[in-house]
């Protein structure tokens, strides 16, 4: 095994071009586990920690350009306003220690269906900025996931940043795990309201071979909201609309049974999360507080 330590992005691209089998390592969350447990013995490890650019972000007019290695902790602390869905998703990642080192680039590089960031990226709308010595390109996140732990990267390409649309409305994110912290998703759901375009977008994690959007559910809800004039009148979404949206989200799943949960539970849970996150975001859009259950303790 060789350990490559590029000091700059250009050096990193050159190294990746020269050694296309090199495995990039940044936060180490996935790569080091594979090495520690002898699941993987890459010929080259390509350390990205020395490239400071990757840990920076820029907030633009339309979008946030988030360096691939910006730690989840920084996203939670600094980008809650611009990227509320991703900030919530970041908070569900593993443990504080891992959130201090892991970033979205790693989630995308591994492309596990259980990666916590994916549903938030899908819901917000994002493009993955990838680059090689041949040049740079933007891959819409919808096209990025090509199979179980497979993505659209060419062998000589590295992920530089993710360009995520700034929130123009409320966003939510929920994840089911069998523990209250430090848990891999049984399934996850992200929802973003986009009042500017009067659309909603979704993202589902761990309930199909890749992260997916529930497009039929989005189309149904877009139509229902438009039809009822909801974007303008801010009325409460009727339970039947919410239920149908939830059912369509469940229907977008193509899950498996595994040690973390059953396929049917995943479908069910995605439906529940879809309904709840719709309620939370819509309540927020209507300008009321996010609290849905004001108890006597208040």
């Amino acid at each position: 095994m060789d350990f490559l330590r590029p000091a700059s992005w250009e050096e990193a691209l050159a190294a990746k071009a020269e050694h296309p089998t090199a495995v990039p390592i940044a936060g180490g969350t996935d790569v080091m586990v594979e090495i520690n447990f002898d699941h993987r013995r890459p010929e080259y490890l390509l350390d990205l920690n020395r490239i400071g650019d990757l840990e920076e972000w820029e907030v633009g007019e339309e979008s946030v350009r988030l360096g691939a290695s910006v730690p989840y902790t920084k996203i939670m602390e600094n980008l809650r306003g611009e990227l509320p869905g991703l900030a919530l998703a970041s908070h569900t990642v593993a443990s504080p220690q891992i959130r201090n080192r892991g970033g979205v680039g790693g989630n995308l590089g591994t492309a596990s269906p259980a990666g916590d960031a994916h549903p938030a990226l899908l819901a917000a709308g994002a493009e993955v900025e990838v680059e090689s010595v041949r040049g740079s390109r933007l891959i819409p996140v919808d096209d990025f996931y090509t199979g179980v732990k497979r993505n659209a990267l060419a062998p000589d390409e590295l992920i530089r940043a993710v360009r995520i649309k700034k929130a123009d409305g409320p966003q939510q994110y929920s994840k089911v795990g069998t523990r209250n912290a430090m848990v891999i998703a049984v399934c996850a759901f992200g929802l973003a309201l986009h009042p500017e375009t009067r659309t909603v977008r979704t993202g589902i994690g761990s309930a199909a071979p890749t992260p997916v959007r529930a497009k039929a559910a989005e189309e149904f809800l877009n139509a229902a909201l438009e039809e009822g004039g909801f974007w303008d009148n801010g009325k409460i979404i009727t339970p039947s609309v919410a239920k149908q949206f939830a059912d369509l989200c469940s229907g977008a799943c193509n899950p498996i049974d595994d040690v973390r949960g059953t396929a049917s539970y995943r479908r069910h849970a995605v439906g529940v999360m879809a309904r709840r996150t719709l309620t939370w975001t819509w309540e927020s859009y209507r300008g009321t507080a996010g609290r849905t259950n004001k108890g006597s303790a208040a």
Binding site: V176, T178, M182, V259, N293, G295
Partner: protein, 795 residues
């Protein structure tokens, strides 16, 4: 060879107070542990040491057609590769009670992850690469996975040609041991019952999940022997199993206890001990073996999963008429502690209740599942889960409050157990229940207390943000349990303590040397306290545990404070007598009290029971040192009759009760335990701080197996599907509730200081209390633990 880094040293602890029993003195190893200096077995290091690696079977049940080690041996940096054929003597198996476990597989593997070959190399990565180059050809056999497949008429025998002492009384050779308990006449009692409830319960396979994986360092000695630095629960039991395999007399296998990163039963069996010694003797170099977490899941036995079938009856005024039950424990491929687990499950199978008519059968199976053995509360834990569910069901059927129903049937001192044994010390079962019930309930909807928004950290799902209160329903549940303390069924359960007293730097100092495995429980703290109480010193030195002193028995069965603590007390008393003899010799003529009064050692002086000081210990001892090494035993127990289960099998019982308060997201099936209150009788709290720590820790292990912990074994292949901390989940600090503890101290006059073993009882009742609370919240029947989200949502 020289001494390795990390060799344990003596720890001296003084105290500004008396520091005796009953005080919450602090751990003598505390400073070392918080500074990172305390050496665990995985921290041992020796110049020139090699790393050992074990090759394990990739299938559960197969004949080994061939093993080719040539490529592994050819790898640079590899010093040795050993298989069954390289074992040095005719003793090739080991085992706690039945020697059925091969040191390395011979002809056949019987479970997934069974050791097949071992390697020593100069770097762990070299050892891993070498192990990967060993070619093993398997011819797979059908797997035995449950009672039906184990006892089918044409079932393959997991062990051919058994000759152990249980084989004569089991109905099938794939049953390790069977213990019935028959008392009274269940058929007649059933006639008297106004209400009968039945239930079938399933208990999942739990892992001890101690944080310090199996590890140790074997150093070859100049006399041809070996010195093993090891994390274990019982040095002498290891020694008895290791030495014959190595072909060495026990005196040539020296064992020293290294730092132990938790145990909970998982270190009662051998893991890498023999392998490290074999490689060290073969290579002439020190060999260190450290399992990683994946291997640890294969490297030790687990808690027996169980199927439990219960029938309970009661009269309309709420008195139990009878209990009939059948408990089927899956022992996996090797016997380990299965016979004792069967004995506990059977003899404690009705719980802490008065029932005259009982028909119990408990068995443990041989299967091709992972071997199961000791884990905190074994046998009693599985039974408690089931009988407490039954007690709730029956209370509901009778129409009595669930706690009252238990209190109505609660055993007390004088109650006759189903084994015919009278309970001859306090058994405050009803009182423990009263106490947990009387504690104030935690406030509702605490997630709203922090501010405007729901604090998801206090809700089911936690940081995953699944609910802001929607679907959340609270439930409350109660349970109580009974556990035996100490080794039972006629086992000669003794401990040895060597205690010395001398003057060092002008101060009397006591040194306590035992082979007790300190695994975190605080035995070393208690030993120092006992020495202070008995010998009137403040400075106590705790000698590292090793095999240079007699056996201290196992750190299990809640027995160490009772038995090794008893041995330390006894040896201290003998030392005291000798010190007083010296005093009488030297000073007896100066004061008549030397001859007439009851004399004590207090505050570094010899005093009369009236408090008069006769002499300073420093003056009595001068440069003499007094040393005693003595064995100490608790009262003998008897075996259970193999047909009726009658017999005075246990020495002491321990009781705890829990009240669980949970909040369940009923739509998503996620559970947050809000509070888990416990009341326990400990007889006498030698160290209250440690006692509460034991109760809280045991409580949470019970919580874990209620809501998340389970080793999942594929029913088709018998392979473990989740051998990692990613998929075998244990509770985090966000999963654990507040644990108020109410400690009772009702002395058991038969035990040292009246104490009662503490460690296990809280692990019993915690699980059924949580399950009861979840049932209370959801209205679901829930006959299996752990509860998974899909069980609560029906999806």
């Amino acid at each position: 060879m020289s001494t390795p880094n990390g060799t344990p040293t003596k720890i001296t602890q003084g105290s500004q107070t008396k520091g005796g029993i009953g005080e919450s003195t602090l751990r003598p190893d505390g400073t070392l542990k918080v500074t990172g200096e305390f050496a665990y077995s995985s921290d041992m290091w020796h110049e020139d040491m090699l790393w050992g690696q074990i090759l394990r079977s990739t299938v559960a049940h197969a004949e080994i057609v061939s093993i080719d080690t040539s490529e592994a041996l050819a790898l640079a940096g590899v010093y040795a590769v050993m298989t069954y054929d390289d074992l040095p003597t005719e003793v090739k198996n080991y085992g706690l009670e039945i020697q059925d476990t091969p040191v390395l597989a011979h002809g056949k593997v019987r479970h997934h992850g069974e050791p097949v070959a071992i390697v020593a190399a100069d770097h762990p990565e070299t050892a891993r690469r070498a192990a990967a180059k060993i070619k093993v050809e398997y011819r797979e056999l059908p797997v035995i996975t449950d009672e039906a497949s184990a006892t089918a008429p044409d079932a393959i025998l997991v062990h051919e040609g058994r000759d152990d002492h249980h084989v004569g009384h089991v109905p099938h050779p794939n049953i390790v041991h069977r213990q019935p308990i028959i008392r009274g006449d269940v058929a007649a009692a059933r006639e008297r019952a106004d209400f009968v409830v039945e239930g079938e319960y399933t208990f999942g396979m739990q892992d001890q999940a101690f944080l310090g994986p199996e590890s140790g360092l074997a150093v070859p000695e100049e006399d041809g022997g070996v010195h093993l630095y090891i994390a274990t629960q019982w040095l002498h039991s290891d020694l008895r199993q290791i030495a014959p395999v190595l072909g060495l007399p026990e005196r040539k296998v020296r064992m020293t206890l290294s730092g132990v990163g938790g145990a909970f039963g998982g270190r009662e069996d051998l893991s890498m001990q023999i392998h490290a010694c074999l490689l060290a003797l073969r290579t002439g170099k020190p060999v260190k073996i450290v399992y990683n977490r994946f291997e640890s899941f294969f490297g030790h036995v687990h808690r027996h999963p169980a199927k439990l079938y219960y029938e309970h009856g009661a009269t309309k005024d709420g008195k139990l008429t009878h209990v009939k039950c059948r408990i089927v424990l899956d022992g996996g491929a090797y016997a380990s502690a299965s016979p004792a687990v069967v004995g506990n499950a059977a003899s404690l199978g009705v719980g802490p209740y008065v029932v005259d008519d009982v028909d119990i059968e408990a068995i443990a199976l041989y299967t091709n599942n992972p071997p199961c053995g000791a884990m905190r509360g074994f046998g009693a834990v599985q039974a408690c889960f089931a009988y407490e569910a039954q007690m709730d069901k029956l209370a509901d059927a009778v129409g009595v409050d669930r706690v009252e129903f238990r209190q109505l049937n609660a055993m007390e001192q004088g109650t006759i157990m189903p084994t015919g044994q009278p309970v001859d010390s306090p058994a405050p079962v009803a009182e423990l229940l009263r106490r947990v019930k009387a504690m104030p309930l935690p406030p509702e909807q605490q997630w709203l207390s922090a501010g405007e928004e729901a604090d998801v950290r206090q809700l089911p799902g936690g940081l995953s943000n699944t609910t802001h209160g929607e679907g959340v329903v609270r439930g409350v549940g109660y349970a109580v349990g009974i556990k035996n303390v100490g080794f039972s069924e006629g086992f000669d359960d003794y401990s040895t303590a060597k205690v010395r007293m001398e003057v060092i730097a002008g101060e009397p100092v006591a040194t306590v040397h035992t082979a007790m495995a300190e695994v975190g429980q605080g035995g070393v703290t208690v030993h120092a306290q006992i020495a202070r109480t008995e010998l009137g010193v403040t400075q106590v030195t705790i000698h590292p545990a090793d095999t240079q002193v007699g056996s201290a028995g196992s750190t299990s069965a809640s027995r160490q404070t009772y038995v090794t603590g008893g041995a330390v007390k006894n040896s201290c008393e003998l030392v005291r007598e000798k010190v007083l003899e010296i005093g009488r010799r030297r000073f007896g003529s100066y004061h008549p009290a030397w001859a007439t009064a009851e004399l004590l050692l207090e505050g570094g002086k010899v005093v009369t029971d009236g408090g008069e000081v006769l002499a300073d210990l420093v003056d009595v001892l001068e440069d003499e040192s007094v040393e005693v090494e003595a064995e100490w035993r608790h009262r003998p127990t008897e075996a259970f009759d193999l047909r009726t289960g009658q017999g005075n099998g246990h020495v002491q019982y321990s009781f705890a009760a829990h009240r669980a308060v949970v909040e369940v997201d009923t739509e998503l099936g996620l559970v947050k335990v809000i509070e888990l209150a416990c009341a326990q009788d400990v007889g006498k709290a030698l160290n209250p701080l440690s006692v509460v720590g034991q109760i809280q820790g045991g409580t949470i292990q019970g919580l874990g197996v209620a809501v998340m912990e389970e080793i999942i074994v594929d029913p088709v292949t018998a392979k473990v599907r989740n051998p990692s901390f990613t998929d075998y989940l244990i509770p985090t600090i966000l999963d654990t509730p507040t644990i108020p503890v109410d400690v009772l101290e009702l002395a058991d006059d038969h035990a040292p200081y009246g104490l009662r073993g503490v460690g296990e009882a809280p692990t019993l009742s915690s699980t059924p209390a949580v399950l009861a609370a979840i049932r209370n919240a959801t209205g679901l029947e829930l006959n299996r633990t752990p509860v998974r989200p899909e069980h609560l949502t029906g999806s």
